[in-house]
């Protein structure tokens, strides 16, 4: 699971501080993967070091919001554009990616789904080749391959299903974060659509 990319995706909705991000993450992913606040802040400071987010002035209650930078946006677009290979996946990253894709402004969800579907089918073709190779009559090996094949199949079915639901229902309108009040950053324009749309990844 990628905390880093999840936070970038959430900040694409507009500047927010740590507690807001944690709550939004749990909202987006149905509280399936609790995130501790320490993890949020260490990730934010690493992102700041890497110039993918910038810290804004503290508000009256001493909370410091962060804003995504252009470089952070490019990085986020790259994450959405690159399918996760079954082999190197902490299994739930795909679910999180799609949960965030449907709530992140400017993401072409159908495109994210198609890229993943094509990649998963390719993996499935590779497994099927291995399975069809009768040189290796090892039943245990075939069972393992079958298990991976069925998981990949389930993933494709889930992607088809998600695509159909999104096509039918449209994307949810995601309310922006509560504005923070620092009285000093009128240009922050917190919830505007990103000036570099994520579609630019194409």
């Amino acid at each position: 699971m990628s905390v880093k990319h999840s936070l970038l995706a959430l900040l694409e909705r507009g500047p927010a501080y740590g507690y807001q991000l944690r709550a939004a993450f749990e909202g987006a992913t149905g509280s399936t993967w609790p995130l501790n606040i320490g993890q949020v802040y260490t990730t934010l400071s690493r992102l700041e070091r890497d110039e993918m987010v910038e810290a804004l002035p503290e508000n009256d209650s001493g909370q410091r919001p962060y804003r995504i930078t252009e470089s952070g946006r490019r990085h986020l677009a790259g994450w959405f554009a690159s399918p996760i290979r079954a082999a190197d996946r902490p299994r739930d990253e795909l679910t999180i990616k799609l949960a965030l894709a449907v709530t992140t402004p400017g993401v072409d969800v159908a495109d994210v789904i198609q890229r993943q579907r094509a990649a998963t089918l390719r993996t499935l073709q590779e497994y099927t080749r291995l399975k069809a190779d009768d040189e290796r009559p090892d039943l245990a090996w075939k069972l393992v391959l079958e298990s991976m094949i069925f998981k990949a199949e389930a993933e494709v079915r889930w992607l088809d299903h998600t695509e159909a639901i999104v096509a039918r229902a449209g994307l949810p309108a995601v309310p922006p974060f509560e504005p923070y009040d620092d009285g000093a950053e009128p240009s922050a324009a917190p919830f505007a659509t990103p000036s570099v749309p994520i579609e630019e990844k194409r």
């Binding site: 198609q114 094509a118 998963t120 089918l121 069809a132 094949i149 695509e163």
Partner: protein, 239 residues
């Protein structure tokens, strides 16, 4: 060698406001030895594409070329002959003739093509054996065999003789998953022996047997994967 080539193929049903664009500017080619899966939601044009590829339906625009021949240039008679000799079809509902036995169903394309009954039967029995059907079933009628056996009969019929292009539309229908897999293996084997195959499926596991996958959406090809193998090695396999 390219067995099937579709160039800017369109299929529009109806006219004006009621026009349905079932297939829009489809470009696709399938080489000998290649099995290509077609995937897409229901209504996206998969069956339309397959029927056009097999000359069962005519495009409203563009060319369908099978083994170098533009189908639209053929007379009805010659098109029918090409279909009988070179193209095999497998459909979801088997399409067996209920009043013919299993062996007669398998032999049908050969008999239609003028082969003697005895010779056609001999070849049909070999074809039934190839798809793993017991010779004892040969003289039963379609309603006297299981769904899996009926589908194997349909495959035997589709593969009989020298089929260069094999088209399958959801060929595993209601079969259980292991039997469905056998059907896919038969298709795969025939392609490995040099036929070109086109497989419509919604089942990712079946698409796993293909060399590449073409995705349809609202009548358009929206994505297609590169083949797993180098084209050269596909050609070698086909020789």
């Amino acid at each position: 060698m390219t067995v099937l080539q579709m160039q800017g193929v369109n299929r529009v049903h109806g006219e004006g406001d009621n026009a349905v664009h079932a297939l829009v500017n489809a470009d696709l080619s399938v080489e000998a030895g290649e099995l290509v899966a077609i995937m897409g939601p229901s209504g996206s044009g998969k069956s339309t594409l397959l029927n056009l590829a097999g000359g069962l339906d005519a495009p409203t625009g563009g060319d369908v070329i099978v083994e170098g021949t533009v189908l639209a240039t053929l007379s009805k008679k010659r098109l029918a002959a090409l279909r009988r000799r070179h193209i095999g079809y497998v459909f979801q509902d088997y399409n067996l003739v209920p009043s013919l036995t299993i062996a007669e169903n398998a032999a049908l394309p050969l008999e239609l093509d003028g082969m003697s009954v005895a010779k056609a039967r001999r070849i049909a029995l070999a074809s039934l054996e190839e798809v793993g059907l017991d010779a004892k079933l040969a003289d039963r009628f379609p309603d006297e065999v299981s769904g899996g056996q009926a589908q194997r009969t349909a495959i035997a019929r589709a593969l009989i003789g020298e089929r260069r292009l094999v088209l399958a539309d959801e060929p595993t229908g209601a079969l259980d998953s292991a039997t469905g897999e056998d059907v896919l293996k038969l298709l795969r084997r025939r392609c490995d022996e040099g036929a070109a195959g086109l497989l419509v499926t919604h089942d990712a596991r079946h698409a796993g047997w293909a060399d590449r996958v073409v995705f349809l959406r609202d009548g358009r090809i929206v994505d297609s994967s590169a083949p797993l193998d180098e084209p050269e090695s596909l050609l070698e396999r086909a020789e």
